[in-house]
Structure formats: structure tokens, C-alpha cells
Symmetry: D2
Subunit: 135 residues, 4 copies
């Protein structure tokens, strides 16, 4: 997450929000945030949300995720929300959303913020306790 | 892809391979390539493979993809292979694989390369012709 | 849906609920509703929800869906809820949930209903207007 | 599978094929095999393929699967192939394909069979040993 430049803005049991400023090197040819960056930040939010409900000392492993790219991620920053749908002993299922925010300044100097849902994720996370990550 | 540092190593109709050197800033806390970087490179390989079968002038849009993370992406470089499963007028379905390569040097100075399948992807791509990307 | 025995219990723009009684021939070896029956009813709810926002005369086609099976679908009936996340001209993305209901009768003759979320779905649906379904 | 009418036609370690005759009650409004029936037979082929590599006494549980519907499943019968991509101690990832076969009789009485790939699946299966299915 440090490479992306994301930061935690909310941590509750089963709920984690990450904020990511949109930097030029994370955008694709049309100036929108690249699908991979969206996937990264959504997967991280989901993983942290899953981890927040796991026993102390456990690690979290993303087994798989599916992302739907709903709209171009234009804007100044995105917020990725990770939410636990079901927490099991071994398998945790999470829902993720990425919302893009654009700030526009009007002729009178006032600032308006528009937000748009740009991606959704469903991911399967695994609890890893006291063994290697490879299995 | 330039942020990631990937380069095209194979382009055939419906088949594209991308190679990505594993740099430190793309790895997560355990030293393995981050899931988001794997998703980026696999999505790019799939997108280019889909684009290779589209009409001249068309653009490609990733509608959704699912990635399974099979093993930690350890190694010096990864190869992402994108293959078209079905090319339609509007919707193209692609298969992606990411293989990680590790080079080890033996006591006699010989070098051995081991490879491991670390991720698979199925993605749905859309042909975009003569209109905005947003729909 | 008639083979399954499902019926529409709610139709609003972008929101459709289907109810399915759990019959023996739809259960697997452990007595729970089979994954395929869950997928059928969730896909149908999502498809109808998508169709409810499409132009008159259009048909809906499921391009792909992902289902997470969260808990055994035990009970007397299930309710599948389909909700549109994003409706586009060509592509519509839907969210689906399947809840299982069990009715138990206590010693005093009172009936209690317990409900449990047993599956979630994300699906991509396509609007088909005035052409064959095959593309 | 008995409700669907599918039967095992091939069982090798990590590879299972199921054949399903297309009966009228499994088709949707256009006369094609319903997405739910395709999902059922593909999920079953994948589950059996996963189970074939699990320890004796273990049970298999589908955690999630994604299906892409590539073409209308027209024809007399379908063949669902389940293949293990990666078998782990806890998690097994499978690939599934469904091929539809149509037999046509020519004017001279000869019979030709055409086949078409109609669906692909990627599924995550879990090994369940000596405990309830619910977790």
C-alpha cells in the first residue's frame, strides 16, 4: 500500500476504509486510475476488514477476488471500502466498493465534490495461523 | 504498464505475453509480488489479447475479472499470458495465467530456473467503438 | 424457473425477489439445496432485476456470474433478491443474495422462523436488442 | 445430479467428465439449457475432480465459482469437464468447461456432430475433514 500511497481512514470490526490519492503514474492511457490500482486498493481494504475479525496472531491471505469495473475512475482520490459478509474459521468472504471523488471549483470560488461508484469487489480470504503462506 | 515496468514479449492474434521484473516496491509484507500487481499484469495481458482480435480503431475495456491467487509470487520476474477464449462482437472472454520464475545459482556456478503458476484470471472485455468509455 | 418451482414475489425497478420452496429433488447428498439450484434462482432474480430497467422489447442475457456459497442452504424455502448495482446501455451489473428460511414449531405450538444468508452473487448482464442471442 | 440426469463418463485423478442429456424441463424460454443447469453440471464436474485428489474420507465443499456463458447451450447433450488447476491441503482451484453437442442428419442419412464451447468455470473448493460443513 505504501507504493500506491493509500492510507487507512477507518478501522472497525469487519469494516475498513482506505483512501488513495490519484497520482499520474497510477493512471492508464485515458487518464483514469488503472484497473490494477483499483484492484489493489479494494483487495487491501477487504483483506484488512477480514483480518480485523481474525484471532490475534493470524495472517490473512487473498484466495481469489472478482472485480467489476463500473465506470472510469476519474478524480482526485478514491475511497475503497472493505466489508465482511461472512467470517468463518477458515474462510472469510468480503465485499468491496471503490468510490471516486472529483472536486470542482465554481466561478465564485466555491468547491463542489462529486462522487461515483467505480468498482465493486467480492473476495475470498483465508485465515492463516502458524504455518506457511503457500498452502 | 510503464509504472509496473512490464514489457510485451509476445503478440499473436488472441495471444499476448507480458514480462514483469519483480521490483521491491511491488512486493507486499512477505516479499512476494502484491496481488494488485499480479492483477494488473494479468489484466493487461488479457486486454491486449482481446484487443488483438478487435477491429482497427476499437478500444478495449475491462468489464470485470476474477483472479485466483494460487501461490506466493516469489522470484525475479513473472510472465503473464493472456489468451482469448471467445471473441464476440461486443464481449470477449479471456483466460490469463501468471508464472513466476526464480533463478538459483549452484555451487558450481550453474544457474537453474524454477517456474511456478502463481495466479489465474478469467476476464470479460468489451469492444468500444466510436463512443465514450463510460458506457 | 417453472422446473425449479420459483415464483416472483416482488418486482420494482431494479429490484426483483424470487421465492423457491426447497423440494427434495433440488437437494444434494447432505439434504441442502444444491449449488446449481441456488445459482439458478439467484441468476434469475438478477436477470429479471436487470431486465426491469431495460427498454421495452429488449431481452437480457447473463454474460457471467460469480456465486459465493456461504452456508448450507437448509430450510423450507429460499428467497433470492436481485438488485441492479449499475445499469448501462449495454452492460448491467447486479448483486444477488439468497436467504434460507427454516420454520420450527415449539412445544407450545408456536412457530419461529430463522433466516440465514446462504449465498451472494455478482453478475454481468447484457441488453440484447433486435439481434440473435449468440453474440 | 440425479435430478439433472447427469452421469459420470470419465474419472481420473484431478479430471472428471460428466454428461448431461438436454431435457426440455432444463431449458429456458429460448430452448437453450438454463444457466443454472450449466452451473450445476460444471460445479459438479469441478467438485468431483477436486474430490478425486483429496484424502480418503474427506468431503468437498464449493466455496465459490464464476461461470462465463459463452454461447447458447443448444443441442442434444452437454459434456462438463472438471480439471484441477491447483490442489492444496485446504483449498483446491478447478477449471471447468461445458461443451454442447448437436447431431444433425443429412439428406443421405449420415449423421454429423457439431460441438461448441458454451461455458467456462473457475471454482474454489475446500477440503472438509471430520467436522461440520457449515464452516
Amino acid at each position: 500500500m505504501s507504493t500506491l500511497g493509500a492510507r487507512l481512514v477507518r478501522v472497525e470490526p469487519g469494516e475498513v476504509d482506505l483512501e488513495l490519492p490519484v497520482r499520474t503514474e497510477l493512471t492508464q492511457q485515458h487518464g483514469f486510475l488503472h484497473a490494477g490500482a483499483l484492484a489493489s486498493v479494494a483487495d487491501s481494504a477487504c483483506s484488512y476488514a477480514a483480518l480485523s475479525l481474525m484471532p490475534a496472531g493470524a495472517a490473512v491471505l487473498s484466495v481469489e477476488f472478482k472485480i467489476n469495473l463500473l465506470a472510469p475512475a476519474a478524480g482526485d482520490r478514491v475511497l475503497a471500502k472493505g466489508r465482511v459478509i461472512r467470517a468463518g474459521k477458515t474462510v472469510t468472504v468480503c465485499w468491496g466498493e471503490v468510490v471516486a471523488f472529483s472536486e470542482t471549483t465554481g466561478t465564485t470560488g466555491t468547491t463542489a465534490t462529486t462522487e461515483r461508484l467505480v468498482a465493486t469487489m467480492v473476495g475470498t480470504m483465508m485465515t492463516v495461523e502458524g504455518r506457511g503462506l503457500a498452502d
